[in-house]
Symmetry: C2
Subunit: 334 residues, 2 copies
Amino acid sequence: MKTATASAPSNIAFIKYWGAIDLDQVRPANASISMTLSECRSLTTVTFEPEVTSADEIALRDESGRPTTLSDAFRRGIERHLARIRERHQLVGRFSVITQNNFPAQAGLASSASGFAALAVAASSAANLEVDDIELSHLARISGSGSASRSVLGGFVEWPAGEDDASGYAKVLAPAEHWPLSDVIAIVETAGKEVSSRDGHRRAPSSPHFATRQALLPDRLDRVRAAIQERNLDDLGSVLELEAIELHLIAMSSQPAIFYWKPATLEVLAAVRRLRREGLSAWATMDAGANVHVICPSAQEAKVAEALAQVPGVLQVLRDRVGNGPQWHTDALP
Amino acid sequence: MKTATASAPSNIAFIKYWGAIDLDQVRPANASISMTLSECRSLTTVTFEPEVTSADEIALRDESGRPTTLSDAFRRGIERHLARIRERHQLVGRFSVITQNNFPAQAGLASSASGFAALAVAASSAANLEVDDIELSHLARISGSGSASRSVLGGFVEWPAGEDDASGYAKVLAPAEHWPLSDVIAIVETAGKEVSSRDGHRRAPSSPHFATRQALLPDRLDRVRAAIQERNLDDLGSVLELEAIELHLIAMSSQPAIFYWKPATLEVLAAVRRLRREGLSAWATMDAGANVHVICPSAQEAKVAEALAQVPGVLQVLRDRVGNGPQWHTDALP
């Protein structure tokens, strides 16, 4: 019996994963590129008892450490993850999992990327598996949350299109030290979204504009890779914004249509355009939700955060920045 | 010297004109279909003095009849209109124009459709021209406002794609009596928009999704024609909403991007979806702006208006319905 504790950060995608070739195998229609964050993290303790065959135990703590209720979707994802670790590594044994986010659940931030990345790291260690980054990214991905495959790595990360299962793991484009960028997150919605990302991925190909998006992405991916290489935020930012808008254009033109934006989303987008007119290099992006992530040089993080806090409808502003990926922790969650 | 006074209504497009083959000749990239309204009107008095060659006179009145300032764009449009009437009909003479809208200028509703339609009717009458509906639609169109070509006709109206100048006039698909529909207009913005429709038309083809839109439109036009024929509001409504969303998707993905929506636009769109869940047949559409037009059976107009007035950010609710097009008036504007 061994216990391991690890944390992993969330990430913010510059080029979005939206639409899957195979949703069960988490094979995305297109490659995505993200920046791994530093502050918004999931902390996970896993104990593995070899040869024990009773059911796995899964517990969730809220951000102050109190036990809280696990959603069915999150529970199923963890169960799938643990089943696939056993299957891939021919294990017999029982996992006990305790997981906790350091960001408030009601902040409306996706915790699946950080949660499944932390789980992959802690569970494989508890089971004494010799796994490299490739296998960690695989394990994180096959739990059902594609973006988790990027959160096992630090810095600027690319996850390729899902041509087959074997190539389905993320790679580092540049380490965190390469470019000190911040992600200032304007929280405008705290309730869960009406349509899950999973349903969004499923519906995406029903948009008449999906095929055009796929055709545009190779050029956009090249531009983002080059902008990261050259640390060119104007180039990165302009792709970032059109890419974020396009995810929502695809969602709004899916059948049936999906509307993730809230009124305050538009307030924040307008505020970011104002900040640029005032000389800041602030660029908006959004996941499949109403909150807005504003990417800027870390030297401008405080100014951007202050400005976003004044925007009508912004409930909370989180400040985060590029980070190094998972970490080991010596203290297990109680 | 003869004076004529006419009024013409605004119209709301079910299939949008967005993007031109030739903006100066007002040759649209695609056919559009609209419903001519009844209440929101422009009233125009035109005097024509044959053989007088001094400059035309143009005056604007606000909705309470007081002289008010004409925008440069509106003045240029009227001048172009009058020059083209003279050119097409080989006239020599001087026009004096007084025009007034019965809806508040600050309501944020486009007055070019009703304004240029009323001008075409009054000016051609003052000049003693024998014009039919085809020529009226032509005259309204070539003033520079494409949608004006639809407002010279009542009921449900189609304006074809601009293959050439000669075919560029609108036709009635069904008269107003055919289908008693209302348009409940939720005003959420009163300031002029930052990017004009003209610039929007110009930029539309720069959207990577414009070509897909063009490919989708023939089927959508068929569905709208059939829905009008069969008085099927569920069919019409579903096309109406995706078409309105798509105009804004094209705008938001144009280069540079155009954002017409305001936060309250999203509030109204969400409210309309709620109204449908509550059993009303209410469907949203938008022009190139932030205000939302809600199409419903006239029997539900009062209920829809009452509900929209409660939506946060709605400044005013106007109630309008399908109407018969231009009217003659005996009293000239003073």
